[in-house]
Protein backbone atom coordinates (compact mmCIF):
# COMPACT_ATOMS: atom_id res chain seq x y z
CA UNK A 1 0.00 0.00 0.00
CA UNK A 2 1.56 3.33 -1.02
CA UNK A 3 1.92 6.23 1.40
CA UNK A 4 -1.09 8.19 0.21
CA UNK A 5 -3.40 5.17 0.27
CA UNK A 6 -2.18 4.27 3.75
CA UNK A 7 -2.78 7.87 4.86
CA UNK A 8 -6.36 7.77 3.55
CA UNK A 9 -6.97 4.37 5.18
CA UNK A 10 -5.72 5.64 8.53
CA UNK A 11 -7.75 8.83 8.24
CA UNK A 12 -10.82 6.67 7.63
CA UNK A 13 -10.07 4.48 10.63
CA UNK A 14 -9.53 7.49 12.91
CA UNK A 15 -12.76 9.08 11.68
CA UNK A 16 -14.71 5.87 12.32
CA UNK A 17 -13.19 5.53 15.79
CA UNK A 18 -14.14 9.08 16.76
CA UNK A 19 -17.59 8.74 15.21
CA UNK A 20 -18.22 5.58 17.22
CA UNK A 21 -16.96 7.25 20.40
CA UNK A 22 -19.18 10.33 20.01
CA UNK A 23 -22.21 8.38 18.78
CA UNK A 24 -22.02 6.43 22.04
CA UNK A 25 -22.60 9.62 24.02
CA UNK A 26 -26.26 9.57 23.01
CA UNK A 27 -27.03 6.28 24.74
CA UNK A 28 -26.06 4.43 27.90
CA UNK A 29 -23.65 3.62 29.32
CA UNK A 30 -21.97 7.01 29.52
CA UNK A 31 -18.73 7.02 31.45
CA UNK A 32 -19.05 10.38 33.20
CA UNK A 33 -16.86 9.41 36.17
CA UNK A 34 -14.12 8.23 33.82
CA UNK A 35 -14.38 11.46 31.80
CA UNK A 36 -14.06 13.51 34.99
CA UNK A 37 -11.03 11.47 36.03
CA UNK A 38 -9.40 12.08 32.65
CA UNK A 39 -10.13 15.81 32.91
CA UNK A 40 -8.29 15.84 36.22
CA UNK A 41 -5.33 13.87 34.81
CA UNK A 42 -5.14 15.96 31.66
CA UNK A 43 -6.06 19.39 33.00
CA UNK A 44 -4.66 19.52 36.48
CA UNK A 45 -1.80 17.20 35.61
CA UNK A 46 -0.62 19.30 32.66
CA UNK A 47 -0.99 22.66 34.42
CA UNK A 48 2.59 22.99 35.72
CA UNK A 49 4.19 22.28 32.36
CA UNK A 50 1.78 24.55 30.48
CA UNK A 51 2.24 27.43 32.94
CA UNK A 52 6.01 27.07 32.71
CA UNK A 53 5.86 27.06 28.93
CA UNK A 54 3.62 30.12 28.85
CA UNK A 55 5.68 32.07 31.35
CA UNK A 56 8.99 31.62 29.58
CA UNK A 57 7.47 32.05 26.13
CA UNK A 58 6.06 35.42 27.15
CA UNK A 59 9.39 36.33 28.68
CA UNK A 60 11.42 35.41 25.63
CA UNK A 61 9.00 37.23 23.32
CA UNK A 62 9.67 40.49 25.18
CA UNK A 63 13.37 39.67 25.36
CA UNK A 64 13.61 39.29 21.61
CA UNK A 65 11.21 42.00 20.43
CA UNK A 66 11.87 44.84 22.87
CA UNK A 67 15.22 45.94 21.37
CA UNK A 68 13.69 46.08 17.87
CA UNK A 69 10.66 48.00 19.12
CA UNK A 70 12.95 50.38 20.96
CA UNK A 71 14.97 50.98 17.75
CA UNK A 72 11.73 52.17 16.11
CA UNK A 73 10.73 54.05 19.31
CA UNK A 74 7.61 51.99 19.79
CA UNK A 75 8.76 50.05 22.85
CA UNK A 76 5.52 51.00 24.60
CA UNK A 77 3.81 48.53 22.23
CA UNK A 78 5.71 45.58 23.74
CA UNK A 79 2.60 44.49 25.66
CA UNK A 80 0.45 44.49 22.52
CA UNK A 81 3.10 42.54 20.64
CA UNK A 82 3.30 39.82 23.31
CA UNK A 83 -0.45 39.67 23.83
CA UNK A 84 -1.42 39.26 20.18
CA UNK A 85 1.33 36.69 19.54
CA UNK A 86 0.49 34.69 22.62
CA UNK A 87 -3.29 34.77 22.48
CA UNK A 88 -3.71 34.28 18.76
CA UNK A 89 -0.91 31.82 18.14
CA UNK A 90 1.74 30.75 20.60
CA UNK A 91 -0.51 30.04 23.55
CA UNK A 92 -2.77 27.58 21.72
CA UNK A 93 0.01 25.92 19.69
CA UNK A 94 2.63 25.57 22.39
CA UNK A 95 0.06 24.36 24.91
CA UNK A 96 -1.12 21.77 22.39
CA UNK A 97 2.43 20.63 21.69
CA UNK A 98 3.18 20.27 25.40
CA UNK A 99 -0.03 18.34 25.98
CA UNK A 100 0.62 16.18 22.91
CA UNK A 101 4.00 15.20 24.34
CA UNK A 102 2.74 14.56 27.84
CA UNK A 103 -0.80 13.29 27.40
CA UNK A 104 -0.70 12.00 23.84
CA UNK A 105 2.22 9.73 24.68
CA UNK A 106 0.58 8.56 27.91
CA UNK A 107 -2.71 7.72 26.18
CA UNK A 108 -1.11 5.81 23.31
CA UNK A 109 1.25 3.95 25.67
CA UNK A 110 -1.57 2.99 28.01
CA UNK A 111 -3.89 1.81 25.26
CA UNK A 112 -1.06 0.13 23.36
CA UNK A 113 -0.05 -1.82 26.47
CA UNK A 114 -3.65 -2.89 26.93
CA UNK A 115 -3.77 -4.13 23.33
CA UNK A 116 -0.61 -6.23 23.53
CA UNK A 117 -1.66 -7.76 26.86
CA UNK A 118 -5.13 -8.63 25.44
CA UNK A 119 -6.90 -6.37 27.92
CA UNK A 120 -8.82 -4.70 25.06
CA UNK A 121 -9.99 -8.12 23.84
CA UNK A 122 -10.95 -9.01 27.41
CA UNK A 123 -12.92 -5.77 27.67
CA UNK A 124 -14.84 -6.56 24.49
CA UNK A 125 -15.37 -10.18 25.60
CA UNK A 126 -16.89 -8.86 28.85
CA UNK A 127 -19.36 -6.75 26.88
CA UNK A 128 -17.72 -3.31 27.12
CA UNK A 129 -17.16 -1.16 24.05
CA UNK A 130 -13.58 0.25 24.17
CA UNK A 131 -14.61 3.28 22.11
CA UNK A 132 -17.13 4.31 24.76
CA UNK A 133 -15.07 3.35 27.79
CA UNK A 134 -11.59 4.43 26.73
CA UNK A 135 -11.70 6.73 23.69
CA UNK A 136 -14.66 9.01 24.38
CA UNK A 137 -13.62 10.06 27.92
CA UNK A 138 -10.09 10.87 26.80
CA UNK A 139 -11.05 12.83 23.69
CA UNK A 140 -13.78 14.74 25.52
CA UNK A 141 -11.43 15.55 28.38
CA UNK A 142 -8.85 16.93 25.94
CA UNK A 143 -11.45 19.04 24.13
CA UNK A 144 -12.67 20.51 27.44
CA UNK A 145 -9.34 21.03 29.14
CA UNK A 146 -7.05 22.27 26.37
CA UNK A 147 -8.83 25.64 26.02
CA UNK A 148 -8.59 26.13 29.78
CA UNK A 149 -4.93 25.20 29.78
CA UNK A 150 -4.38 27.64 26.91
CA UNK A 151 -5.97 30.47 28.88
CA UNK A 152 -3.72 29.65 31.82
CA UNK A 153 -0.69 29.62 29.52
CA UNK A 154 -1.68 32.99 28.04
CA UNK A 155 -2.08 34.60 31.44
CA UNK A 156 1.26 33.33 32.67
CA UNK A 157 2.83 34.33 29.36
CA UNK A 158 1.68 37.91 29.80
CA UNK A 159 2.93 37.79 33.36
CA UNK A 160 6.34 36.52 32.18
CA UNK A 161 6.50 39.17 29.49
CA UNK A 162 5.62 41.90 31.99
CA UNK A 163 8.33 40.79 34.40
CA UNK A 164 10.98 40.84 31.67
CA UNK A 165 9.83 44.25 30.41
CA UNK A 166 9.85 45.62 33.94
CA UNK A 167 13.01 44.06 35.34
CA UNK A 168 15.26 43.96 32.28
CA UNK A 169 14.07 46.98 30.33
CA UNK A 170 12.77 49.12 33.17
CA UNK A 171 9.40 49.61 31.53
CA UNK A 172 6.66 50.84 33.84
CA UNK A 173 4.29 47.89 34.32
CA UNK A 174 1.29 50.23 33.84
CA UNK A 175 2.54 50.96 30.34
CA UNK A 176 2.86 47.23 29.67
CA UNK A 177 -0.64 46.47 30.98
CA UNK A 178 -2.22 49.35 29.03
CA UNK A 179 -0.49 48.13 25.89
CA UNK A 180 -1.82 44.60 26.47
CA UNK A 181 -5.34 45.90 27.07
CA UNK A 182 -5.29 48.01 23.92
CA UNK A 183 -3.79 45.24 21.82
CA UNK A 184 -6.30 42.48 22.54
CA UNK A 185 -9.65 42.36 20.85
CA UNK A 186 -12.54 40.04 21.68
CA UNK A 187 -12.06 38.30 18.34
CA UNK A 188 -8.48 37.42 19.30
CA UNK A 189 -9.66 35.77 22.49
CA UNK A 190 -12.39 33.86 20.65
CA UNK A 191 -9.92 32.64 18.05
CA UNK A 192 -7.50 31.67 20.79
CA UNK A 193 -10.20 29.52 22.39
CA UNK A 194 -11.46 27.91 19.18
CA UNK A 195 -8.06 26.58 18.14
CA UNK A 196 -7.52 24.44 21.27
CA UNK A 197 -10.90 22.74 20.69
CA UNK A 198 -9.64 21.39 17.38
CA UNK A 199 -6.18 20.66 18.75
CA UNK A 200 -7.69 18.63 21.60
CA UNK A 201 -9.70 16.60 19.11
CA UNK A 202 -6.60 15.99 16.98
CA UNK A 203 -4.38 14.94 19.88
CA UNK A 204 -7.04 12.65 21.40
CA UNK A 205 -7.99 11.02 18.10
CA UNK A 206 -4.44 10.32 16.98
CA UNK A 207 -3.25 9.10 20.39
CA UNK A 208 -6.23 6.77 20.87
CA UNK A 209 -6.02 5.41 17.34
CA UNK A 210 -2.28 4.77 17.51
CA UNK A 211 -2.66 3.08 20.88
CA UNK A 212 -5.54 0.83 19.83
CA UNK A 213 -3.88 -0.17 16.57
CA UNK A 214 -0.60 -1.20 18.22
CA UNK A 215 0.99 -4.37 16.91
CA UNK A 216 4.31 -6.06 17.58
CA UNK A 217 4.49 -6.36 21.35
CA UNK A 218 6.41 -3.94 23.54
CA UNK A 219 8.45 -2.62 20.61
CA UNK A 220 5.16 -1.79 18.94
CA UNK A 221 4.02 0.15 22.01
CA UNK A 222 7.12 2.34 21.84
CA UNK A 223 6.62 2.87 18.13
CA UNK A 224 2.94 3.74 18.60
CA UNK A 225 3.79 6.24 21.33
CA UNK A 226 6.41 8.00 19.23
CA UNK A 227 4.13 8.07 16.19
CA UNK A 228 1.24 9.45 18.24
CA UNK A 229 3.31 12.40 19.48
CA UNK A 230 4.97 13.16 16.16
CA UNK A 231 1.84 12.84 14.02
CA UNK A 232 -0.42 14.80 16.38
CA UNK A 233 2.21 17.55 16.69
CA UNK A 234 2.55 17.84 12.93
CA UNK A 235 -1.21 17.94 12.48
CA UNK A 236 -1.55 20.62 15.16
CA UNK A 237 0.93 22.81 13.27
CA UNK A 238 -0.69 22.17 9.86
CA UNK A 239 -4.21 22.72 11.21
CA UNK A 240 -3.07 25.87 12.94
CA UNK A 241 -2.15 27.45 9.62
CA UNK A 242 -5.49 26.70 7.98
CA UNK A 243 -7.47 27.52 11.11
CA UNK A 244 -5.66 30.84 11.44
CA UNK A 245 -6.55 31.78 7.88
CA UNK A 246 -10.14 30.70 8.30
CA UNK A 247 -10.51 32.63 11.57
CA UNK A 248 -8.92 35.71 10.00
CA UNK A 249 -11.66 35.68 7.40
CA UNK A 250 -14.56 34.70 9.65
CA UNK A 251 -13.69 36.90 12.63
CA UNK A 252 -11.91 39.64 10.67
CA UNK A 253 -8.81 39.54 12.84
CA UNK A 254 -5.24 40.40 11.98
CA UNK A 255 -5.96 43.99 10.96
CA UNK A 256 -4.44 46.85 12.93
Amino acid sequence: MDLFTRFLAELQEISLLIWEAFAGLFSRPRYIAETTRQMDLIGVGSLPIVLLTGFFTGGVLVLQTYPTLEYYSIQNEAGRSVATSLIRELGPVLSALMVSGRIGSAISAELGSMVVSQQIDAMRALGTNPSRKLVAPRVLALIFMLPLLTVAADIFGLFGGGIVASLLYNQDYHVFIDSVRNGIKTEDIIAGMIKPLFFGLIIGSVACYKGLSTTGGTVGVGRATTNAVVISSIWVIIFDFFLSKALQVILDIGRI
Binding site: S117, A125, L126
Partner: protein
Protein backbone atom coordinates in the same frame (compact mmCIF):
# COMPACT_ATOMS: atom_id res chain seq x y z
CA UNK B 1 -12.22 -50.61 41.65
CA UNK B 2 -11.87 -47.27 40.10
CA UNK B 3 -8.92 -45.02 40.65
CA UNK B 4 -10.02 -41.97 42.58
CA UNK B 5 -8.03 -38.82 42.92
CA UNK B 6 -9.32 -36.63 45.65
CA UNK B 7 -8.27 -33.06 45.04
CA UNK B 8 -6.64 -31.91 48.23
CA UNK B 9 -8.05 -28.78 49.81
CA UNK B 10 -10.88 -28.76 47.30
CA UNK B 11 -13.52 -26.27 48.39
CA UNK B 12 -16.87 -27.65 49.41
CA UNK B 13 -19.29 -27.63 46.52
CA UNK B 14 -22.42 -26.48 48.33
CA UNK B 15 -22.26 -22.71 48.25
CA UNK B 16 -19.44 -22.30 45.77
CA UNK B 17 -21.15 -24.05 42.91
CA UNK B 18 -24.46 -25.84 42.82
CA UNK B 19 -24.36 -28.87 40.45
CA UNK B 20 -26.78 -28.47 37.60
CA UNK B 21 -29.63 -31.00 37.62
CA UNK B 22 -28.96 -33.00 34.49
CA UNK B 23 -31.53 -35.75 34.95
CA UNK B 24 -34.08 -34.28 32.60
CA UNK B 25 -31.60 -32.38 30.50
CA UNK B 26 -31.44 -35.01 27.75
CA UNK B 27 -35.15 -34.50 27.04
CA UNK B 28 -34.84 -30.72 26.58
CA UNK B 29 -35.22 -29.70 22.92
CA UNK B 30 -32.51 -27.06 23.42
CA UNK B 31 -29.92 -29.80 23.84
CA UNK B 32 -30.35 -30.98 20.24
CA UNK B 33 -29.08 -27.65 18.98
CA UNK B 34 -25.31 -27.29 19.22
CA UNK B 35 -23.95 -24.53 21.41
CA UNK B 36 -21.29 -23.63 18.83
CA UNK B 37 -21.16 -24.43 15.12
CA UNK B 38 -18.57 -23.61 12.52
CA UNK B 39 -19.84 -24.16 8.96
CA UNK B 40 -17.17 -24.12 6.25
CA UNK B 41 -15.32 -21.13 7.72
CA UNK B 42 -12.49 -19.58 5.76
CA UNK B 43 -10.08 -16.85 6.85
CA UNK B 44 -6.91 -15.42 5.36
CA UNK B 45 -4.51 -12.76 6.61
CA UNK B 46 -2.93 -11.01 3.63
CA UNK B 47 -2.10 -13.98 1.38
CA UNK B 48 -1.81 -16.58 4.12
CA UNK B 49 -4.70 -18.99 4.55
CA UNK B 50 -5.31 -19.49 8.26
CA UNK B 51 -8.63 -21.36 8.24
CA UNK B 52 -9.52 -23.37 5.18
CA UNK B 53 -13.05 -24.70 5.45
CA UNK B 54 -13.31 -25.38 9.18
CA UNK B 55 -16.39 -27.40 10.14
CA UNK B 56 -17.15 -28.59 13.65
CA UNK B 57 -19.76 -28.27 16.35
CA UNK B 58 -19.79 -28.28 20.15
CA UNK B 59 -22.83 -29.90 21.76
CA UNK B 60 -24.36 -28.67 24.98
CA UNK B 61 -22.30 -29.75 27.96
CA UNK B 62 -19.47 -30.89 25.69
CA UNK B 63 -15.82 -29.90 25.85
CA UNK B 64 -14.04 -29.69 22.52
CA UNK B 65 -10.28 -29.82 22.81
CA UNK B 66 -8.56 -28.07 19.91
CA UNK B 67 -5.01 -29.19 19.23
CA UNK B 68 -2.60 -27.84 16.69
CA UNK B 69 0.80 -26.34 16.14
CA UNK B 70 1.60 -22.78 17.14
CA UNK B 71 0.18 -20.32 14.63
CA UNK B 72 -2.22 -22.94 13.32
CA UNK B 73 -5.41 -20.98 13.89
CA UNK B 74 -6.54 -22.31 17.28
CA UNK B 75 -6.80 -18.93 18.99
CA UNK B 76 -8.24 -17.47 15.79
CA UNK B 77 -11.24 -19.82 16.13
CA UNK B 78 -11.85 -18.55 19.66
CA UNK B 79 -11.61 -14.93 18.57
CA UNK B 80 -14.18 -15.61 15.86
CA UNK B 81 -16.64 -17.08 18.36
CA UNK B 82 -16.38 -13.84 20.34
CA UNK B 83 -16.81 -11.78 17.20
CA UNK B 84 -13.35 -10.23 17.54
CA UNK B 85 -12.56 -11.49 14.04
CA UNK B 86 -14.89 -12.03 11.10
CA UNK B 87 -14.51 -14.90 8.64
CA UNK B 88 -13.99 -14.32 4.93
CA UNK B 89 -16.72 -16.88 4.23
CA UNK B 90 -18.75 -19.50 6.02
CA UNK B 91 -21.01 -19.26 9.04
CA UNK B 92 -20.57 -19.22 12.78
CA UNK B 93 -23.65 -20.12 14.81
CA UNK B 94 -23.94 -19.68 18.57
CA UNK B 95 -26.98 -21.25 20.26
CA UNK B 96 -28.78 -21.32 16.93
CA UNK B 97 -28.04 -17.67 16.12
CA UNK B 98 -25.89 -16.88 13.10
CA UNK B 99 -23.35 -14.33 14.34
CA UNK B 100 -21.26 -14.20 11.16
CA UNK B 101 -22.34 -10.69 10.18
CA UNK B 102 -23.21 -9.34 13.62
CA UNK B 103 -21.92 -5.85 14.44
CA UNK B 104 -20.41 -4.86 17.80
CA UNK B 105 -23.73 -3.87 19.36
CA UNK B 106 -25.38 -7.17 18.34
CA UNK B 107 -22.40 -9.15 19.63
CA UNK B 108 -22.81 -7.61 23.10
CA UNK B 109 -25.83 -9.82 23.84
CA UNK B 110 -24.02 -12.93 22.52
CA UNK B 111 -20.99 -12.20 24.66
CA UNK B 112 -23.19 -12.19 27.77
CA UNK B 113 -23.43 -15.98 27.43
CA UNK B 114 -19.75 -16.55 26.77
CA UNK B 115 -16.88 -16.53 29.24
CA UNK B 116 -13.35 -16.24 27.93
CA UNK B 117 -10.15 -17.31 29.69
CA UNK B 118 -7.18 -15.66 28.00
CA UNK B 119 -3.73 -17.12 27.68
CA UNK B 120 -2.01 -14.80 30.14
CA UNK B 121 -5.15 -14.05 32.11
CA UNK B 122 -5.51 -10.60 30.50
CA UNK B 123 -6.42 -9.05 33.85
CA UNK B 124 -6.90 -5.28 33.97
CA UNK B 125 -3.72 -4.32 35.78
CA UNK B 126 -5.03 -1.05 37.18
CA UNK B 127 -7.93 -2.86 38.91
CA UNK B 128 -7.83 -5.12 41.97
CA UNK B 129 -8.80 -8.79 41.88
CA UNK B 130 -12.24 -7.86 43.18
CA UNK B 131 -12.72 -5.20 40.51
CA UNK B 132 -11.45 -7.53 37.80
CA UNK B 133 -13.81 -10.36 38.70
CA UNK B 134 -16.71 -7.94 39.23
CA UNK B 135 -16.06 -6.09 35.98
CA UNK B 136 -19.03 -7.39 34.01
CA UNK B 137 -21.43 -6.84 36.90
CA UNK B 138 -20.14 -3.31 37.57
CA UNK B 139 -20.66 -2.43 33.90
CA UNK B 140 -24.21 -3.78 34.14
CA UNK B 141 -24.91 -1.58 37.19
CA UNK B 142 -25.65 -4.49 39.53
CA UNK B 143 -26.16 -3.70 43.22
CA UNK B 144 -22.91 -3.70 45.22
CA UNK B 145 -24.00 -6.30 47.76
CA UNK B 146 -24.89 -8.74 45.04
CA UNK B 147 -21.60 -8.04 43.27
CA UNK B 148 -19.65 -8.83 46.42
CA UNK B 149 -21.58 -12.05 46.96
CA UNK B 150 -21.01 -13.24 43.37
CA UNK B 151 -17.33 -12.26 43.35
CA UNK B 152 -16.65 -14.14 46.56
CA UNK B 153 -18.56 -17.16 45.21
CA UNK B 154 -16.41 -17.24 42.08
CA UNK B 155 -13.17 -16.69 43.95
CA UNK B 156 -14.08 -19.58 46.26
CA UNK B 157 -14.58 -21.73 43.17
CA UNK B 158 -11.03 -21.02 42.08
CA UNK B 159 -9.77 -21.10 45.66
CA UNK B 160 -8.55 -17.49 45.69
CA UNK B 161 -10.92 -15.72 48.05
CA UNK B 162 -7.96 -14.54 50.15
CA UNK B 163 -6.56 -12.60 47.19
CA UNK B 164 -9.69 -10.50 46.74
CA UNK B 165 -7.99 -7.16 47.54
CA UNK B 166 -4.70 -7.83 45.79
CA UNK B 167 -3.57 -6.20 42.55
CA UNK B 168 -2.70 -8.41 39.55
CA UNK B 169 0.97 -7.48 39.82
CA UNK B 170 1.07 -9.19 43.21
CA UNK B 171 -0.18 -12.52 41.84
CA UNK B 172 1.74 -15.44 40.39
CA UNK B 173 1.04 -16.61 36.83
CA UNK B 174 -1.18 -19.43 38.01
CA UNK B 175 -3.14 -17.17 40.33
CA UNK B 176 -3.70 -14.69 37.49
CA UNK B 177 -5.10 -17.48 35.32
CA UNK B 178 -7.43 -18.56 38.11
CA UNK B 179 -8.65 -14.99 38.61
CA UNK B 180 -9.17 -14.89 34.85
CA UNK B 181 -11.33 -18.00 35.13
CA UNK B 182 -13.33 -16.46 37.99
CA UNK B 183 -13.88 -13.33 35.87
CA UNK B 184 -14.98 -15.43 32.91
CA UNK B 185 -17.52 -17.34 35.01
CA UNK B 186 -19.29 -14.31 36.47
CA UNK B 187 -22.80 -14.21 35.13
CA UNK B 188 -22.85 -18.04 34.80
CA UNK B 189 -22.13 -18.21 31.06
CA UNK B 190 -23.30 -21.33 29.22
CA UNK B 191 -20.18 -21.32 27.01
CA UNK B 192 -16.61 -20.96 28.23
CA UNK B 193 -13.59 -20.58 25.96
CA UNK B 194 -10.13 -21.48 27.23
CA UNK B 195 -7.26 -20.11 25.13
CA UNK B 196 -4.16 -22.06 26.19
CA UNK B 197 -4.87 -21.40 29.87
CA UNK B 198 -2.00 -23.57 31.10
CA UNK B 199 0.76 -22.14 28.89
CA UNK B 200 3.89 -21.48 30.91
CA UNK B 201 2.52 -22.95 34.13
CA UNK B 202 4.11 -25.66 36.24
CA UNK B 203 2.42 -29.11 36.06
CA UNK B 204 0.57 -28.93 39.42
CA UNK B 205 -0.88 -25.50 38.58
CA UNK B 206 -1.78 -26.65 35.07
CA UNK B 207 -3.55 -29.61 36.66
CA UNK B 208 -5.54 -27.19 38.87
CA UNK B 209 -6.68 -25.26 35.81
CA UNK B 210 -7.80 -28.49 34.12
CA UNK B 211 -9.71 -29.51 37.25
CA UNK B 212 -11.61 -26.23 37.10
CA UNK B 213 -12.51 -26.94 33.48
CA UNK B 214 -13.63 -30.48 34.39
CA UNK B 215 -15.82 -29.15 37.22
CA UNK B 216 -17.46 -26.69 34.86
CA UNK B 217 -18.15 -29.42 32.31
CA UNK B 218 -19.46 -32.08 34.67
CA UNK B 219 -21.10 -30.06 37.43
CA UNK B 220 -22.32 -27.00 35.56
CA UNK B 221 -23.13 -28.46 32.13
CA UNK B 222 -21.06 -25.73 30.50
CA UNK B 223 -20.13 -26.13 26.82
CA UNK B 224 -16.50 -25.27 26.29
CA UNK B 225 -13.63 -25.10 23.86
CA UNK B 226 -10.22 -25.82 25.34
CA UNK B 227 -7.33 -24.75 23.13
CA UNK B 228 -4.04 -26.39 24.04
CA UNK B 229 -1.01 -28.08 22.66
CA UNK B 230 -0.13 -29.91 25.87
CA UNK B 231 -1.03 -33.59 25.79
CA UNK B 232 -1.27 -33.76 29.60
CA UNK B 233 -4.29 -31.49 29.41
CA UNK B 234 -5.86 -33.76 26.79
CA UNK B 235 -5.35 -36.72 29.09
CA UNK B 236 -6.90 -35.00 32.13
CA UNK B 237 -9.90 -33.63 30.27
CA UNK B 238 -10.59 -36.82 28.30
CA UNK B 239 -10.08 -39.37 31.04
CA UNK B 240 -11.31 -37.80 34.26
CA UNK B 241 -14.63 -36.61 35.49
CA UNK B 242 -15.81 -34.72 38.55
CA UNK B 243 -18.37 -35.98 41.03
CA UNK B 244 -19.69 -34.69 44.32
CA UNK B 245 -19.37 -36.75 47.47
CA UNK B 246 -22.22 -36.83 49.99
CA UNK B 247 -20.28 -34.44 52.21
CA UNK B 248 -20.11 -31.91 49.37
CA UNK B 249 -16.47 -32.52 48.46
CA UNK B 250 -15.60 -32.65 44.76
CA UNK B 251 -13.50 -35.62 43.67
CA UNK B 252 -12.02 -36.52 40.31
CA UNK B 253 -12.30 -40.07 39.03
CA UNK B 254 -10.83 -41.79 35.98
CA UNK B 255 -13.21 -43.14 33.39
CA UNK B 256 -13.23 -46.87 33.31
CA UNK B 257 -15.66 -49.72 33.73
CA UNK B 258 -18.26 -47.63 35.55
CA UNK B 259 -18.26 -44.60 33.29
CA UNK B 260 -16.96 -43.69 29.88
CA UNK B 261 -16.65 -40.03 29.02
CA UNK B 262 -18.59 -39.08 25.91
CA UNK B 263 -18.72 -35.36 26.50
CA UNK B 264 -15.16 -34.57 25.49
CA UNK B 265 -13.78 -34.75 21.96
CA UNK B 266 -10.56 -33.74 20.32
CA UNK B 267 -10.05 -31.95 17.03
CA UNK B 268 -6.68 -31.26 15.53
CA UNK B 269 -6.04 -28.45 13.11
CA UNK B 270 -3.68 -29.10 10.26
CA UNK B 271 -2.91 -26.61 7.51
CA UNK B 272 -6.09 -24.70 8.23
CA UNK B 273 -8.36 -27.74 8.13
CA UNK B 274 -9.69 -30.18 10.72
CA UNK B 275 -7.15 -32.96 10.34
CA UNK B 276 -8.69 -35.15 13.03
CA UNK B 277 -11.91 -35.28 15.00
CA UNK B 278 -12.78 -37.90 17.55
CA UNK B 279 -12.09 -39.26 21.01
CA UNK B 280 -8.73 -39.27 22.73
CA UNK B 281 -8.51 -43.06 22.27
CA UNK B 282 -9.00 -42.67 18.53
CA UNK B 283 -6.35 -39.92 18.52
CA UNK B 284 -3.81 -42.19 20.19
CA UNK B 285 -4.54 -45.04 17.76
CA UNK B 286 -4.74 -43.14 14.48
CA UNK B 287 -2.12 -44.20 11.98
CA UNK B 288 -0.97 -40.79 10.84
CA UNK B 289 2.69 -39.87 11.15
CA UNK B 290 2.03 -36.14 11.65
CA UNK B 291 -0.45 -36.77 14.47
CA UNK B 292 1.73 -39.38 16.16
CA UNK B 293 4.69 -37.00 16.01
CA UNK B 294 2.54 -34.25 17.49
CA UNK B 295 1.17 -36.27 20.40
CA UNK B 296 4.42 -38.09 21.19
CA UNK B 297 6.75 -35.18 20.59
CA UNK B 298 8.97 -37.15 18.26
Amino acid sequence: MLDSQTAENTPLIDEALEPTDLEDAVDEPDRVQPAIEFRDVHLSFDDQKILNGICFSVRRGETKIILGRSGGGKSTIIRMILGLLKPDSGQIVIDGEDITDHGEEEMMSIRQKIGMVFQEGALFDSLSVFENVAYRLIEQGVDHEEIEHEVRRMLRFVDLEDAIDKMPIELSGGMRRRVGIARALIGDPSIVLFDEPTAGLDPPTARTICELAIKLRDLQDVSSIFVTHEMNNVRYLSSEYATVEPDGRVIFENEGERLCLLNTEVIMLRQGKVGFSGSDEQLRNVKDEYIQRFINGK
